[in-house]
Symmetry: D2
Subunit: 352 residues, 4 copies
Amino acid sequence: MTPKGKIEVGILGATGMVGQNFIKFLQNHPWFQVKWLGASDRSAGKRYSEATAWRLDGEMPEAVRDIVVEECRPGNAPRLVFSAMDASVATEIERAFAEAGHFVVSNSKNHRMEPDVPLLIPEVNPDHLQLAPVQRRNRGWRGLIVTNPNCTTVVLTMALAALRPFGIKRVIMTSMQAISGAGYPGVAGMDINANVIPFIGGEEEKVETEPLKILGRFTGETVEPLPARISAHCNRVPVVDGHTETVSVELASKPTAEELIAAFRAFRSVPQERGLPSAPPQPLIYMEQHDRPQPRRDVERERGMSVFVGRLRPCPVLDWKFVAMGHNTVRGAAGAAVLNAELMHSEGLLET
Amino acid sequence: MTPKGKIEVGILGATGMVGQNFIKFLQNHPWFQVKWLGASDRSAGKRYSEATAWRLDGEMPEAVRDIVVEECRPGNAPRLVFSAMDASVATEIERAFAEAGHFVVSNSKNHRMEPDVPLLIPEVNPDHLQLAPVQRRNRGWRGLIVTNPNCTTVVLTMALAALRPFGIKRVIMTSMQAISGAGYPGVAGMDINANVIPFIGGEEEKVETEPLKILGRFTGETVEPLPARISAHCNRVPVVDGHTETVSVELASKPTAEELIAAFRAFRSVPQERGLPSAPPQPLIYMEQHDRPQPRRDVERERGMSVFVGRLRPCPVLDWKFVAMGHNTVRGAAGAAVLNAELMHSEGLLET
Amino acid sequence: MTPKGKIEVGILGATGMVGQNFIKFLQNHPWFQVKWLGASDRSAGKRYSEATAWRLDGEMPEAVRDIVVEECRPGNAPRLVFSAMDASVATEIERAFAEAGHFVVSNSKNHRMEPDVPLLIPEVNPDHLQLAPVQRRNRGWRGLIVTNPNCTTVVLTMALAALRPFGIKRVIMTSMQAISGAGYPGVAGMDINANVIPFIGGEEEKVETEPLKILGRFTGETVEPLPARISAHCNRVPVVDGHTETVSVELASKPTAEELIAAFRAFRSVPQERGLPSAPPQPLIYMEQHDRPQPRRDVERERGMSVFVGRLRPCPVLDWKFVAMGHNTVRGAAGAAVLNAELMHSEGLLET
Amino acid sequence: MTPKGKIEVGILGATGMVGQNFIKFLQNHPWFQVKWLGASDRSAGKRYSEATAWRLDGEMPEAVRDIVVEECRPGNAPRLVFSAMDASVATEIERAFAEAGHFVVSNSKNHRMEPDVPLLIPEVNPDHLQLAPVQRRNRGWRGLIVTNPNCTTVVLTMALAALRPFGIKRVIMTSMQAISGAGYPGVAGMDINANVIPFIGGEEEKVETEPLKILGRFTGETVEPLPARISAHCNRVPVVDGHTETVSVELASKPTAEELIAAFRAFRSVPQERGLPSAPPQPLIYMEQHDRPQPRRDVERERGMSVFVGRLRPCPVLDWKFVAMGHNTVRGAAGAAVLNAELMHSEGLLET
């Protein structure tokens, strides 16, 4: 605990764009305080303000400027660490921390689909946290790895979660994804200015599999994926923040439009019930306007933690179609992981 | 015939964006020469250069600068007129010209879905031009109205036409449409800069119906629409020219990827056989690169008359998915209409 | 006074973009509460939510949704009205309100350069408010018209104000202005997407004259303009909010770079001393980074009320050059006017 | 000579963006044919199509796809080589080629300001090619290095060249530069989308010095720089191609606006007189429209080889102000170098 009674946290991969998003999102967090920053050897030993080219809007928060960056090795790090590691190095480092007893709340893709690793959206599958003892038993770890999904997955899966009672069978989604999802330098200006790039490496595979695990059933030992099929078309568009997704969905039952909209609006879950600090009051906000949600206009609302839905209408091929939009670096990354840690804390898990 | 032996043509709605696109596309046309320009009362009597704020790249072609704009009434207009009329006035004016004996080759939506009006893509349904005598008989007209489809429809339908042999059953398409498709001033900069607008008025309805007529069967009297279903999600993105479309399609037969790509590449039709001046050598260009086609990089190729296809891969929900992209103001508007007129001329229709 | 003890205010031209910006900026204002909304005949009688297509980010504030819009005539309006009127109608309407005893705090250009009308930036020339009695005497009004400058002028003039002690002689400025400065629909997407428009109607004239009045000396009866010369090149660029300006300046004395940067940083004035609610703690923020300020990254900082300065370096032609950037619809429009009203209130003027 | 009687040319740094621009510009060149491609060790030995990720619009020209890339060492290279080398390696490699007898026509900045290296714009200072014998004598080389200026310099200097008769004294310029000027990946999409970056490394220094050498007087032994002063503010804006520059200029004599516009329009020089293949008929095109030139609308005109000028008007601080715009990767890079080589060929220099 810090002097203010907050839980000290560390960030693995603190100097990159995702790491910066963690630092920004954790500013003034009521429970967590960033005390430790890990990065590559190249940065270790430098003050964070020297090691980091700050890429986000505004300026680097004062509170982290003078923290001396360390290598990504367990030891000095607090028990709770958020991982913003690049996929190329995340596997070994995250395992090393978990083995050493750390709670690794990771945004990296590396462990997401492993059977004993929770892939969480706290509003959708908080019960999957029960994979924790399975993971520890399997691996003989004192710590734990918990993951959040890919940014495009989060937006889609939150919208679909509200439709779960109607029986999700088949989904076709096209994404129009913001530049900030690609890290830094990420997409070249020459490539994306006034253009669409109809390809994002590895993205479609994630969006076609991760939601099925998240929407799946915890059996006591493992997660049975939802028996549904998803097809994803992923595109990059010249937008700064906010992934927009068009979705066609086939349902087992035949609800009316009113019932579906009511389901979007009524959707609440554990984070709302427990009042977790980063939980949006309303996880899904259905907009009546004929041309919303729009990323530039809606992405900053609700601190970036709600998913916005609109344009529900019948689909001539599957049953219904609609638009969903959410903040890819907040709800789809740093905010997602922090909410996972809040859920863990609310379960008393961080004290074990 | 003009001194050079060219066919004189007129343009209805010559001062608007679509009219300007006709003028640009018809520059140096080997068969047609713009001799007459019609617009609203407000413009009539002025020289074209005075009446028109030129919105296209480069400068207004010299050949039209001094043509005195007339009202949109038959009389002085040449027999062949291209219609770039706004939908709010096209119905009556196009009828008046057809009744007065003119060939009205229209880009307007107004008459597209009427049963006796050809809705043509010359590579796809040149035989639908046989609706001409039906239309004349029905309406007692000496002239004729022939239409081209909506810009988003053209791109989708040309790609689908190559797949017709495999039996098109269901299609889900999401478009990412260029700003130039909305006319002038069209979409406000405030609305589209760094944004996605997930709605285009009336567009989805067109894309869900027009392709079925175009891909339908001419029975001798009318067109039986293709018995397939299409679902469209239409979006505006900050791109200047070129509509990009993600397409999932269900087919009756089960071709391989190689067969489908071969079908895209082999696709040729009447305009290519006859060497129509605006016909692209290859109507569909399949690109091997993993991230193409892209609107900014590919839209100007082949004078904007080919449709570019890429990323063919299995669809987990329907059978196959791919990306298609074409030039909305050329292949999707002015070029489409000019190619229609070229087809008509090659059939000897303009001489009747 | 409202139940909460706030001063009731009205907005002239409430349905337009500038009017919407006033409503957004005045949300939760500690002194002022919007109670009356005036607009054109077409809107009068409708609820604000019916009369207005909300163009700003997020959604229309609840507090104004049900206010019934009235015509722009004095009568029911509160004593203090903010004018967001279009220039085409502002002259007569603002005069009518002032004549009827209202305090008209106007963002319109119409009265700015009249000799007895204060053209205010509260940090720069708060003493020019002493034109109030002159204006009333001249015109026989009980009320008053007070204006704020053009958005590009504000950014330039605030930066120059800090240099006043060194003797401003000549200034050359090039602006790169955001789209939001043009109202709605304003600049067409077709015109500005991936483009620069090197012209903004009337802008250069304003930027070359308004700062001289603002930086001028109040003589007791009138304002003697600063005897300096300004040359402005105004351009529109595809940025949402934030005008960026490159400035070369010739000074009478020969300060060092350190003295100039210190002058930017030390710049404070009456609004800061009095703690006016919308006054930024630091009116000018000098940034050390070699590539800042940048509009997208810095415009939302300090609630849009500070002007950001950077890149001070010697100018081979005049003496010094630098970059300045500020929020055009906040510091350059709605926020400017509200700060003017706060200054007036702090002078006890609103009680007269 | 090639079978077609063309002069064989090589390209140093052929795989980068500038190299690609050379290949694109030299397609179908009537005098020169690309026969040799040099790049880094990493690319050497591969076919060009394997070694190169093509970044330009459209597809890689067929003619170069199968050329096997070599290391950048003299030997197999043709006598005439265009250098698109990165500045970090250009100095040594260009010298090695010149020493070995090659004509190195370079776009790199490295040798531009050396006293015995011609820094050429063929329309402006063709006589500076007379530095060739000086350079050879100084350095004992059989070959030669000839350079073209920085892209921003070209646009400014061509416009100023027309004003030379009036006596250029002082110039203040602000550039709004396209993304393509930064190479690939160049500017990150995250940095430039909907933003302005008010800094381009090293650019202002070039623009403040290179024009003075180009506009300088060849004395028979060296070039005396123009005794004028230039101040540059360089900015990056979200535009694909085309640098736009606002210019204020002080002149020794006092011409009228008509005289200045006439001077822009009458400006012709050696490349036009000799009909060099890449010479634009009119090097400077003065546009009457109040809001032109604009990069997106005008940059592709005249094959990118003309500079467009507009908005000439009095400057309240210096004498006159105007806007200039030109194609940074054509007139400002590849096209500039090719025109230099054409000038050299027309002088018989390539045969020596």
